[in-house]
Symmetry: C3
Subunit: 350 residues, 3 copies
């Protein structure tokens, strides 16, 4: 709960319009003030519970459609057209801290004060030509952890996806190198293949010759996965000398069985080609939508409302990273809950 979730792609909240999304079981509305800054309010009038996003804009304020109570960007009621116009003390809606970063609008839903330091550093997204970055969104009918599992276990790509990103079976035998910190899990794979992986081959010096390949992924809470994949031929070393891309997968639960799945990709080649950029994000969106998506949702249907570990999954070497994420996430949630319990006890004692 006390974490930054993506509420929307920055371009989803534009102009004068109100944008609604259900986040962590709560109705949220987003809009931009006239200075361009983003506001996130509980999308429920405290009077009779009408969604404020059905209402009208009055400058930087929101007028409820039902009875025209008006709220400012802090959620404070500023106008009551009824009776004497007295504004009851309780006439306010919750305003959620937001920050616009990396092309996303991030929202803090927790009870603790928003801690900007808890937003991980995804600054590589911002470095480079504007035609080399692209965003997409999918509404998934599954729990968000099944989506994290999918990305943390990259061994699936040879089996689920087509020719374009096949490693020709090279990936599955590799047990990834794992690195752990108090709040992150990383996994690295390195291998060689001939020809190089389809998405990079055309841009390498020798498209049909062997290349060294690397995957480097890092999960950070609550549901962010940075994924860097690159290929090198010849003397080159490191991502900067490679043909590669830096992606962020990030999930925001709508509720227990529905997830907002956001994705952004930044590449380091043909960076000025806007047409290629559009083709690339469409291809990636289609792969998620047509290949990962139906599979993850079929897994959710098969699991029903059961907890993952309660079904005794047979786990293997390729599950190392995904299982470490599930365990660390459980620990972080437990820590947050016991911190809450301590806070509540203190409040009760005072």
């Amino acid at each position: 709960m006390n974490a930054w979730y993506v509420g929307a792609i920055a371009t989803e909240v534009e102009g004068e319009a109100f944008f609604h999304r259900k986040i962590l079981d709560t109705s949220v509305m987003f809009y931009r003030k006239q200075d361009g800054s983003v506001v996130a309010l509980h999308d429920r009038c405290p009077h009779r519970f009408a969604p404020l996003s059905l209402g009208k804009r009055v400058g930087d304020e929101v007028s409820c459609l039902y009875h025209a109570l008006r709220f400012d960007a802090d959620g404070q009621c500023t106008h009551n057209p009824h009776g004497t116009g007295h504004i009851p003390k309780a006439a306010r809606v919750r305003s959620f801290p937001v920050q616009e970063q990396y092309g996303f609008i991030w929202i803090w839903m927790g009870d603790e004060p928003a801690d900007r330091a808890l937003l991980p550093d995804f600054s590589p997204l911002m470095e480079g030509h504007p035609n080399a970055i692209a965003y997409t969104y999918m509404a998934m009918k599954s729990n968000y952890e099944l989506i994290i599992d999918n990305v943390m276990d990259l061994s699936h790509i040879d089996h689920v996806h087509g020719e374009i990103i096949t490693t020709r079976g090279q990936l599955s035998p590799i047990v990834p190198t794992i690195q752990e910190t108090a709040r992150t899990i990383s996994a690295q794979w390195a291998w060689k293949q001939t020809p190089p992986i389809g998405i990079f081959a055309p841009f390498l010096p020798e498209p049909k010759e062997e290349a060294r390949h690397f995957f480097d992924i890092t999960w950070s809470p609550p549901a962010n996965i940075q994924l860097t994949v690159w290929a090198l031929q010849g003397e080159g070393d490191g991502y900067d000398e490679s043909i590669g891309q830096y992606d962020l997968h990030t999930c925001t639960p709508a509720d227990e069985f529905h997830t907002h799945y956001f994705f952004v990709t930044r590449r380091n080649h043909v960076v000025e080609d806007g047409e290629f950029n559009a083709i690339k994000i469409k291809a990636m969106h289609d792969a998620f939508h047509d290949e990962d998506g139906p599979l993850i949702q079929a897994v959710q249907d098969e699991m029903g409302t059961s907890d993952f570990f309660s079904l005794n999954p047979v786990l293997m070497s390729n599950d190392i990273a995904a299982v470490k994420v599930r365990k660390l996430l459980q620990k972080l949630i437990r820590d947050e809950q016991s911190a809450d319990a301590v806070t509540e006890q203190r409040s009760a004692a005072e």
Copy 2:
């Protein structure tokens, strides 16, 4: 429960046909006998629970489609084509008291004997030219109390509806005058506006000049609201000298979250104009369907299965009448339930 609910508009039950509607969680079928009188039966054969409304008419009786048990208008089985033809004592369905009044078919679903005196007097509906009255129906995905709230708080009309019935903000500041009896809540608003309200202006002597306006609404249990609205210019006084209309809004719960919403309007001007009558009821239906309906249903979605007061609504002067209705309705339901409890204790003691 022990109250008259509208089961259908009289014209919904016509000819030889059976008409089905779910009322208070119970399947009900309606039909007219050959003498035109209306019958309401539990729409469930006591044999194997097939809906009788799927069956066939045999004179004034109903033959079940599944095995041809036949029931008369009192719900008594009159024919069993099986075996010896013996009719088991239990072979009967519940027949509900009905009365056809004011263009509606009213049904009594309670366990107490039907009390015709409990149907309020809506006789103004019946006075006047047949081209000056019109009925409509909407299936609403909400609890019925949210619909009553909508009508009892008329301050919404400036905010929800369009130019045609705007009071240009005059209504909201007015705290209505409230009158209460043991079983009714009334509210009155009076104001002046220039030009007059759009639905009446064309029929007033001076369509662009100031007129005195009046709203007078009365709720009576379980879910009836009489609404009179009129405008006057010059010396005239009272509804009879005005341009105005007398409406009835009445709700019948299908179940906790689905409501049958019936509406009838009787006007006192251009009373012979059938074409205008059709246009007017269509405009009112569209306003409910396109403006109130989506809002009320969005409120229901946002409330989910929560009780209204449990969500701590911020109530204001415009809620006076609606809240008084909710409180009186709660009291009447509690009274009915304790009367039931007393009856049950007496039965147990005997």
Copy 3:
């Protein structure tokens, strides 16, 4: 549970394809090995619970789409492409005993060893010309017992179905002769009618004259009903000298409120006419689909989640056979459950 259910019509599982069906709340996949024999596996990979039926065929084995674990026809994992390729002991899926008989694929879902003797003898289906037998399937939104009730009480045919199989009211008055064994309930009806029943009249010597008619049905657990119906004129005696047909109705629960309804009919007249065969099965399918189906599903809707007997049905002479089946089925289920309990106690004691 410890019984043979129809999993599929034999022709539903053909070629290289995987066939999925939910049976007794369990996902099952069917396919044919290269030798034509049928395999039924739990349609859930034990790794991450993806449906195996989304996967790929590798000879007689199934490769999971998600991470390419491969399983043989016994459900044993034979290939793990990940890490060292070690196959965890738990990496197996349940393989269900099947037998292909009478044009159906029968599946055993119980914990007890499959007992081939428990499949009733439906061998009359197999006797005769291939153009005189036809199969159909319907997905029903009802509990399976409501479908059995429908067939066990044939008195419904005069009321539910059209001219083509009417007995002109002759069937309902007859109380069928009942025969019972430890595991079967049979009912017989015999009557005369003029003209003969529509489906047989054109094939009798005198299509407009009186004929003797017979229905003979036998239920056997869990949900099989053999139904023989025939008509005779003149000196003829017995089914073999008649115009008639031998049908099997059999139901497989998907879950408590969804049932797979299978039907096969074998006739003893115009046996070589393939075109008539197609017309006949289509007419029977349409009668179930358009006449019985909506009625049974309406009964289910009206019953909701209530148990049949808890609603106090008014039962009559025509219900004798259906009620005997419900009672015997309850007894057999209780017997199975107490046998299970005894087994569990013994296991616990050991």
